[in-house]
């Protein structure tokens, strides 16, 4: 049983390697130093900003406790994943991998099902690790300073804190419905992104 398991593992690694693409950090030079470049990266990169916003919406919809857990888990994991990615380099992730966060988070926000704070924190952790890793690997590949990761994590923290605080106060009513509609848009964009990635 052990041998097929190893073979399956090797096969997965080979498939992932075959499907992997180069990471693109798109770290803009703002002139404000690496931390400022990191902050601007989050605000200017929709492939990172939209999942962060969707995570903030999800955390806010699930109440103050889930929000607190998600806030710490997301920004902490983003920084940790970034450092790991910076050290380890290009991950063996297929080109369509980032679309998973759009689809999953958008779908969960649109569904507006009550989730436990631990589950929301686990989602935030996974999101932070995956996107942070991609950022870190991209920064290393572009030979930029790792300090940019601090700016990225700080921006992720601030955006998540602000948006989730606005959402957490929403009870029933059209505002909560508007948040769900925004989630459906994120999921729709994710599906189209998946199509673009598979077509490329």
């Amino acid at each position: 049983m052990r041998l097929p398991g190893r073979r399956a593992g090797r096969a997965i690694i080979l498939v992932a390697a075959a499907a992997s693409s180069t990471v693109e950090a798109h770290l803009a030079t703002t002139g404000l130093g690496p931390v400022g470049d990191g902050v601007s990266h989050v605000l200017l990169s929709p492939d990172d900003l939209v999942p962060v916003l969707a995570m903030a919406l999800l955390a806010g919809l699930n109440g103050p406790r889930a929000r607190r857990h998600a806030l710490l888990a997301l920004s902490g994991a983003w920084l940790a994943g970034g450092i790991a990615g910076f050290a380890a380099g290009n991950p063996l992730l297929p080109a369509w991998a980032p679309t998973v966060s759009f689809l999953a988070l958008g779908g969960l926000v649109a569904a507006d099902r009550r989730l436990s704070p631990a589950f929301v924190a686990a989602i935030a952790l996974a999101l932070g690790l995956a996107h942070g890793w991609l950022n870190g690997a991209g920064i290393a590949e572009a030979r930029r300073e790792a300090l940019a990761l601090l700016g990225i994590a700080a921006a992720v923290f601030v955006v998540t804190a602000a948006v989730s605080a606005a959402v957490v106060s929403l009870q029933e009513g059209w505002r909560r419905v508007a948040v769900r509609v925004a989630g459906s848009w994120v999921a729709a964009v994710g599906l189209l992104m998946l199509g673009w990635a598979l077509r490329a």
Partner: protein
């Protein structure tokens, strides 16, 4: 005087040269254009505009929860249609499907039809596939697919929002009549689109 001006010109030229920095033209090629193209694309075709607004109007007539279920259903299923187009899975009769969507959605508003929520969602969703397949893949070369998709989905959602806002008139008797007249106008436009698609 002439010599002074000449020297000043030389100094200014040297200062400009000293301050010059290399131009970085590679600002993520096609990013902004992708968003603008995506935002403008849904409003560039009357058939798409009328169908989207009709979805909002019909949702407003049906009331809760249809008023938000239909606008949530449409972009998600529309994206499914776009996905099929992007991965190369063809659909027959796309133009006819879009034309029929204008005709039937207009008719639903004109008749103030009130089917079960699931039936309304399936009807709207079925048409959304055609709209997504036709429009979701029309990205000009060199532009960002992600930003095009964001613009396309947001613009479509805003058109639903316009329909829902107009549908607020449903609260008043004259407003209801006005909505039904608007639905009739949309379905008449749909007849023209159907004629164009089949003839």
């Amino acid at each position: 005087m002439k010599g002074l001006l000449s020297r000043l010109g030389t100094v200014a030229g040297l200062v400009l040269l000293a301050c010059a920095t290399p131009a970085f033209a590679h600002v993520q090629q096609g990013q902004a254009q992708g968003l603008v193209t995506g935002l403008l694309h849904p409003v560039s075709g009357l058939d798409h505009v009328l169908a989207m607004i009709a979805v909002g109007l019909w949702g407003a007539q049906l009331g809760r929860p249809a008023v938000w279920v239909l606008p949530v259903t449409f972009p998600m299923v529309m994206a499914c249609g776009g996905f099929l187009g992007l991965v190369g899975i063809g659909l027959p009769g796309i133009e006819a499907g879009i034309a029929l969507s204008v005709l039937l959605l207009g008719l639903m508003v004109a008749l103030e039809a009130k089917p079960k929520l699931a039936v309304a969602a399936v009807l709207v969703g079925a048409f959304a596939i055609f709209h997504g397949h036709a429009h979701g893949t029309e990205l000009p070369a060199g532009q960002s697919g992600l930003l095009y998709s964001i613009g396309f989905v947001v613009a479509t959602g805003c058109l639903h929002g316009v329909g829902i806002l107009i549908g607020v008139a449903h609260r008043w008797p004259r407003g209801r009549l006005a909505l039904r007249v608007a639905g009739t106008a949309v379905s008449l436009a749909g007849v023209a689109f159907v004629a164009r698609a089949f003839l």
